[in-house]
Symmetry: C2
Subunit: 354 residues, 2 copies
Amino acid sequence: MAELKNDRFLRALLKQPVDVTPVWMMRQAGRYLPEYRATRTRAGSFMDLCKNPELACEVTIQPLERFPLDAAILFSDILTVPDAMGLGLRFAEGEGPIFDRPVRSAADVDRLFVPDPEGELKYVMDAVRTIRRELNGRVPLIGFSGSPWTLATYMVEGGSSKEFAHVKGMLYDQPALMHKLLDVTAQAVTQYLNAQVDAGAQALMIFDTWGGALTPRDYQEFSLRYMTKIVSGLKREADGRKVPVVLFTKGGGQWLESMAEAGADALGLDWTVDIGAARARVGDKVALQGNMDPCVLYASPERIRAEVASILAAYGQGSGHVFNLGHGIHQHVNPEHAAAFVEAVHELSASYHP
Amino acid sequence: MAELKNDRFLRALLKQPVDVTPVWMMRQAGRYLPEYRATRTRAGSFMDLCKNPELACEVTIQPLERFPLDAAILFSDILTVPDAMGLGLRFAEGEGPIFDRPVRSAADVDRLFVPDPEGELKYVMDAVRTIRRELNGRVPLIGFSGSPWTLATYMVEGGSSKEFAHVKGMLYDQPALMHKLLDVTAQAVTQYLNAQVDAGAQALMIFDTWGGALTPRDYQEFSLRYMTKIVSGLKREADGRKVPVVLFTKGGGQWLESMAEAGADALGLDWTVDIGAARARVGDKVALQGNMDPCVLYASPERIRAEVASILAAYGQGSGHVFNLGHGIHQHVNPEHAAAFVEAVHELSASYHP
């Protein structure tokens, strides 16, 4: 493997000194880039793109060609795992993901199994291997998965949901069944993430997009508990370096103290938290990743720069901060605004790392 | 006016002793009730129903005929105010609200005006008068409005939004223009709520559905500030009784301390906060309203009862708690489950009011 030329991202996650604050953007390979849209058109459907390692590699690297980002993230989808568990994923135009065989009954849960990461999910590992080779040590590669609870919302609802009627009905009325579903999903995610490390991922992120829809009690029991289990089962070293893990619960700002106990190296923050206050709350336990409102990228480059300055000042001196948006970049953002964002982070952060 | 026969709701909001914890449900007059759907069919469109005082009264009272609720809430929509400001509201089937003339430019903001509550909005005041008369002192009547920021999201986006691209673009890039929009909207809301009190509303609630989409700094500046302004301009007494005001920011659990300073009598809580922890945080400053996850109503009556018990125990002894859901009741809930919920609150809460 080629030596890593830029390890700011890994160093910041481990709170080791850096020259400037590293930055990447959630969903940085995506529809806001015309080159992504072109590759997507060549690929066919969204899942065709995910399942084609060469094209998944191409779109993963596209944003790095435009912006001096400090990390690449595997281009894939969180729903690859339940798809490999036999639920039949498809993306209907304008409707988002749909599972043809949602999990609604005890019999449905019994049928779930831990997919072989080098079997049903080999296309993901092939993508990781291809991207890692093509990156050639330029920046670290992040592997990822959805959290068990977040995957469960799609698995039980059969797609996206605003109300979570079915999945919360199961949680409230059949908690043992919900735990069984989450347990097998957590095993699947653990194997999936470890296989990504074996294939070349140098850091891992767990996306808990819907943990914030739970009560504080149920967040602990049905989401954080399974993320903690996963983290404790992960390979934490590869190529003689630590593989840092980032936990991100959107809407989890009220629960940072308990998230910091999960064993991860860093927490992702959405923009509803002041990052300085968050740092004071978690102390030395974890690094922080975030947390500019993605909507700031609709504003002028001057305004973007001011917002970056404000977040850097809130975090303050020293390492332990990976700059990011508080959620994925939106599809209608002007790529030049993303460029202004990345540039501002590097330029304005140097003084915080004397 | 008929004397109020059940004043638990008003007393709890003012932290005066009560026999049992009062309870009502956000969106208690709604699609989960077959009798509502029947009236709605007779009325025509959703806005036809809002604009017909007799039918709005009918659906307001329907849930009280089924359940021993401790308050009625005016049947209306938060978008009546921007509609009266000339934006042209309609509801497209399956698409939610649409404004034909969204507010995008300085010229659009300049055209906004404070509507006359007894002019363009007279149908709302007629509904309040009709409902108050028909209630005949049975329970207090709650009037309401959306918060300026929440109304602004619809006014600028032209409808519902997930990304808030336009409204946050304006907030970040043209803050002075956004303040101008919010200022006229806050004036409109103040007059609207005061007119509801004149027409017979005995308590007021401000719904800030989208305040939780803001950064902590912008929540203070663009949402809480205008709600505070409104509260300071409200009539707080009618018929020789105090008219309590409830502020509800969905997703505002991180900001309860500052919300408690806004001058309202109570804060509404969604279900992502433990109500006991919330009580400790706000101290004696405000009463609390909430906060059961509406999805619990998909579970069995036994499970609903257990969840009610858990929330009552978390709040603890004494007055200052109005039981409610953490958001509006969902349309697919079985009305018998709503009945079990209301019954559980009254039965299980007596021991907390010795």
